[in-house]
């Protein structure tokens, strides 16, 4: 672990702890990175999302749009429709550049694949803010994200304790080529190997990030490894499918399921005890911070190179105490379809 990542780990850890223990001294959640004054000019900000069929990104889009309203900015947003549609996101990026937006907020469908598109935007004089899922480009103004390594580690810690340091675990890693699937999965494995050497990872698979893909993979894992004790999920999109497979096989309570994020079905499975624990990002905060950073950049204010958004761990024990305002879009809110 290099110096930077030690620092980052500690920082994110503090955030995670603060979310648990301390009632923040800020007026509203997410005010650690405060809203700037409303600029005199009306800016137009392009927002590129990877897959809006995941409620996580609906909540994030709500964050972008609501924050833009408060800052007098206009949002043009596009959805790539899935992590496999890299070519689509590149075209959308080019169309935002041609539309001469003032800044672009990019949630990348793919790390290496978006390098060229970011370079194009920067060459056209449009700053790029990278949120939540990372591009490999080094030309972005800032990266605003929750620490995916911590998400993996927290899952490993929960899994290790729940299994008392012994057992067989499978991994549903999520979408290949994305920073979240890579970093969370690698951190999970590393932490298990360090702290719980008697837990073995018997199988791991990537898939598209949907419940249907998770369901199918988990059914096959259950057939291949009848003695499975736990399953790690890179995101709740696949975990919801995995939970359904575990329920259907009658092994509820016998297999420890951990995951990340907190959409409605995930909450239901947490409360029913099918999913044991989830590490929850706060997409609303990611959205608001992304918009604030974009405005700050355009107003020529200093923006930190990295902004870590806080994490929460949710189990059936604390499910009643969670503040949903930063995790989900308000009930009934729908992305504005043009």
């Amino acid at each position: 672990m290099n110096k930077h990542s030690v620092f980052r780990t500690i920082l994110a850890g503090i955030f995670a702890l603060a979310a648990f223990v301390v009632t923040p001294a800020y007026a509203a959640p997410g005010d650690e990175y405060a809203r700037p004054a409303k600029p005199a000019k009306q800016y137009t900000i392009g927002v590129l999302l990877p897959m809006l069929s995941n409620p996580h990104f609906v909540a994030q889009l709500y964050g972008y749009i609501d924050e833009a309203d408060k800052l007098g900015a206009k949002v043009i947003w596009f959805d790539a429709g899935g992590y496999q549609y890299l070519d689509k996101q590149l075209s959308q990026m080019e169309d935002l550049i041609a539309s001469k937006v003032d800044a672009i907020i990019l949630v990348a469908v793919n790390g290496p694949g978006t390098v060229g598109a970011v370079a194009q935007a920067v060459a056209a004089g449009i700053p790029v803010i990278n949120c939540n899922v990372m591009t490999d480009s080094d030309k972005v103004v800032t990266r605003i994200r929750s620490d995916d390594s911590i998400i993996g580690q927290m899952q490993a810690d929960y899994m290790g304790q729940a299994l008392k340091g012994n057992g067989k675990v499978a991994m549903l890693r999520g979408a290949p080529g994305t920073s979240w699937a890579e970093n969370r999965g690698n951190a999970f494995k590393k932490r298990l190997a360090e702290k719980f050497p008697h837990i073995t990872v018997v199988g791991e698979q990537y898939s598209q990030s949907t419940p249907a893909d998770g369901l199918k993979l988990m059914e096959d894992f259950l057939q291949t490894f009848p003695q499975l004790d736990g399953v790690y999920n890179g995101a709740d999109t696949v975990a919801i499918g995995a939970a359904q497979a575990v329920l259907a096989s009658g092994k509820k309570g016998k297999i420890v399921i951990t995951t990340a994020d907190y959409q409605l079905d995930t909450e239901k499975f947490i409360r029913e005890g099918v999913i044991n624990a989830t590490v929850v990002q706060q997409p609303g905060i990611i959205g608001r911070w992304g918009m604030r950073a974009a405005i700050n950049t355009l107003e020529k204010r200093e923006v930190p190179k990295v902004l870590w958004t806080p994490l929460l761990q949710v189990t059936s024990a604390n499910a009643d105490k969670i503040d949903m305002s930063t995790i989900r879009a308000p009930a009934g809110w729908k992305p504005p379809i043009r």
Partner: protein, 298 residues
């Protein structure tokens, strides 16, 4: 169809003047070049009364092979091996269709699934990064004001136009597509030329795959999903007959331009991508309906 194109361009340009900007015209040219390339191959296949459903998956297979070969053998090696991989897959399609008499729809459907699987297997499902930076020129570079991918597509169109209209191979494709029995009876070596049709389709999928790999400067096993359907759409929107024998490279170009301009223009006037799909679906059916109606009147 040209009238429709002009009307579309005027419409988008009025709502968002940036549509006409040099940057955006460059964007349209670059965005359609991949579809243009695979649609050339699709034109050959459909004209011969066949179809090639594998071109989308071949983009992914070529991308992975090209990227891996480039890491192992360098820039030129990667490009050559990538294009060859496309040709080889096309040859396999052709042998299945012409020699083993498997219907084109089924043979290339098999390849659609298998090529995607092969791409995922070879890459382990992950993108292959670390390609040399000079390779970016193919996908992102310019020749004067024209993006390189568009230059490649334009040259390919000219060559394909020449092959279809001025060579024996081209005439035989029309003959096979109109009436295969008659073509056989008149002594055309249908087996040979059918194989060649799918090699050509694989070749253009190979070129497109290399260009796309450069655009994303990495080998990506998930590229090109549903692109085969858009290439078929381009052929029929342009006025190519889905059962073969009627159509041509110029018409396909029209179809490609309609599809490309639609998706770019609708993005620029900020129509959501969900609504865009509805529009594109409607256009495919309407275009073919108008063509058929005109034919009936004659």
């Amino acid at each position: 169809m040209p009238a429709v194109l002009i009307a579309m361009a005027l419409f988008f340009g009025t709502i968002n003047p940036n549509f006409w900007s040099v940057t955006n015209m460059g964007n349209v040219a670059r965005q359609i070049s991949i579809l243009a390339l695979i649609s050339i191959g699709q034109t050959f296949a459909i004209l011969s009364a066949g179809i090639d459903l594998s071109v989308g998956s071949l983009l992914a297979l070529v991308s992975v092979v090209c990227a891996q070969a480039m890491l192992d053998f360098g820039l030129v090696g990667g490009i050559v091996i990538g294009v060859l991989a496309g040709c080889l897959a096309g040859l396999f399609n052709g042998l299945l269709i012409a020699k083993a008499r498997v219907p084109a729809f089924i043979a290339t459907l098999g390849m659609l699934v298998a090529a995607r699987g092969l791409a995922l297997t070879l890459s382990g499902g992950l993108p292959i990064a670390g390609l040399p930076h000079e390779f970016m020129i193919i996908g992102a570079g310019y020749w004067g004001l024209v993006p390189i991918p568009a230059v490649i597509a334009a040259v390919s169109f000219v060559v394909a136009f020449f092959v279809l209209s001025r060579t024996r191979f081209g005439r035989y494709i029309y003959a096979m597509g109109s009436n295969e029995e008659a073509a056989i009876l008149s002594g055309i070596n249908v087996v040979k030329y059918k194989i060649l049709v799918y090699v050509v389709s694989g070749l253009f999928a190979g070129i497109a795959g290399v260009v796309l790999t450069s655009r994303v400067i990495s080998g990506q096993p998930t590229l090109g999903e549903v692109q085969e359907l858009y290439s078929i759409a381009a052929v029929v929107i342009g006025g190519g007959k889905i059962t073969g024998g009627v159509g041509g490279i110029g018409r396909t170009l029209m179809g490609v331009l309609v599809l490309g301009m639609l998706s770019n223009g609708l993005n620029l006037i900020q129509i959501s991508s969900y609504v865009q799909n509805i529009v594109v679906g409607a256009i495919i059916v309407i275009a073919v309906y108008i063509d058929l109606a005109r034919e009936r009147r004659r």
